[in-house]
Amino acid sequence: MSWRIFDKAFVGLTALAVLVVVAMIAVILGNVVINGWEQITWEFLSAQPRVGMTEGGIFPAIFGTVLLVLLMTIAGVPLGVCVAIYFSEYANRTGWLYRFTRQAVNNLAGVPSIVFGLFGLGFFVRFLGGAIDNTFYEGKLTYGQPALIWAALTMAVLTLPVVIVSVEEALRAVPQSFRDASLALGATRTQTTFRVVLPQAISGVLTGGILAVSRGAGEVAPILFVGAAYYLPHLPTKLNDQFMELGYHIFILSTQSPDVDATKPLLYATVFVLLALTFLLNLTAIAVRARLRVASGSAR
């Protein structure tokens, strides 16, 4: 009898937990949408900030974010996919080398993002950038300072474990029997990977890539030291330019503004835009997956 009561209570408890989570999401989203929606005008999306960021728009921050995400994707996703292919298709999974590198990737995923920022500053900006300046620019400060390229690379390193893990999972989900069939026909491992495994896993690979990117798009900590700027009168045009970024812009609006009350509506609207961009990326991932599933006609 008491077990039956316990059962009911436990079901109620788990349902309550779900309710709490849903309520939190509703409060966050509702608050942002209600307060931010009104502020979204064409001017807000297309203009520069003005009057100490209490007026005007956020176009440079949107532009910088999109550019950053793009460069980060180009730098990180192909590398991550290659590592995942190696792990899933070539590595001897019982060997110590695989276990060691696999563990390294897992640990990389657990490193706090601010540490990646410091790593970016130390390795990319100071070491790599400094070396480039000394070698090609006679010591003149060109790449040895915070810049778009270094921020993109730092973000690429940050998202790398996410890409690797999700792509590897997608590749592993392809049944071994397909690989066996291909190998038994005299295909090489690489032919098998490209003609059988990747086409089967492509929706998972793309989804993993996009989700990693959308995670990276919301990160602020790693780019604090390596390229994000408080305010810039010009859009970035070169790889060694600094840039404005939505997440960082939110941080500035909420902590560095000379007039907090005046920036509040802008802050809500900026958060709204950042959330919208992230959701858009996630929606793209879902759409891509659905489309490819239909196209391949596979049961999975």
């Binding site: 029997s177 397909f178 066996d180 069939a181 291909s182 190998l183 026909l185 003609r195």
Partner: protein, 277 residues
């Protein structure tokens, strides 16, 4: 099964069509010599020596886990794909030991094709499935030649008439039996010399099974076939020679008619009369 002369197998309680008086061994295709396979520390195949004769069907029977599939997969070195597998001894195909270091696995697997237990067509069109081996090996020069080879393979697998109007349809829409015959066609397309079949009918219904068995009679003319099966009636129906394995060792290897009527080893008799396994 058909109207040809049948032979009684009293021990098996089944009748089997008389294929030929005594299988005329026309020469050795594969000589397995002292083959040993370890999965890590576990011994899966223990010093097996047997001959696979050209243009005949050799069946390997035995209870689950006796090493028969491992033995089969060692004939095209598919065990190499499993980490931790160590193979010792020789497998001589025609004149060359396939375990000689430096053996070209791609070439080997083109000569020794394989059909698996579960039908595993690629989630591609019927046509692309059959064309796969030809394309990756660069075996054909023109589209017309490819078309011809695909048709020939599908005809050899007795599937052409069923699928000729829907070659571009996804292979996963075929029934299980059709999928397995498609896999046979896919293996035949690269024109192997030997066809390995790992319990090819165990996932199929009786009608599809009968079709596959029928097919094996026809394929024998052009190919050397090695089939692993846990179905003794099937081994008796389709094979000329049968090897019985137990716990990784070869217990008995004889002409099929002899093994199923007058087995020399007591364990073989116990197994085929259903006393264990």
């Amino acid at each position: 099964m058909n109207q040809a002369a049948t032979r009684d197998f009293p021990l098996l309680k089944t009748q089997v069509r008389e294929t030929q008086q005594a299988p005329a061994a026309t020469g050795t295709k594969i000589r397995i010599d002292g083959l040993t396979v370890h999965y890590g520390k576990r011994l899966a195949v223990d010093r097996v020596t047997l001959l696979v004769y050209r243009n005949l069907v050799t069946a390997i029977i035995g209870p689950s886990g006796c090493g028969k599939s491992t033995l089969l997969r060692s004939l095209n070195r598919m065990n190499d794909t499993i980490p931790g597998v160590i193979t010792g001894g020789k497998v001589v195909l025609d004149d060359g030991d396939i375990y000689t270091p430096g053996t070209d696995l791609i070439h080997l697997r083109r000569r020794v094709g394989m059909v698996f237990q579960q039908p595993n067509p690629f989630p591609k069109s019927i046509y692309d499935n059959v064309a796969y081996g030809l394309r990756i090996n660069g075996l054909v020069g023109s589209r017309a030649e490819l078309d011809a080879r695909v048709e020939k393979a599908l005809r050899s697998a007795a599937l052409w008439n069923e699928v000729k109007d829907r070659l571009q349809r996804n292979a996963l829409q075929l029934s299980g039996g059709e999928q397995q015959r498609l896999c046979i066609a896919r293996a035949l397309a690269v024109q192997p010399e030997v066809l390995l079949m790992d319990e090819p009918a165990s996932a199929l219904d009786p009608v599809s099974t009968a079709k596959i068995e029928e097919l094996m009679f026809e394929l024998k003319a052009d190919y050397t076939i090695v089939i692993v099966t846990h179905n003794m009636q099937q081994a008796a129906r389709v094979s000329d020679f049968t090897a019985f394995m137990l716990n990784g060792s070869l217990v008995e290897f004889s002409p099929t008619a002899q093994l199923f009527t007058t087995p020399t080893d007591a364990r073989t008799e116990a197994y085929i009369t259903g006393r264990f396994g």
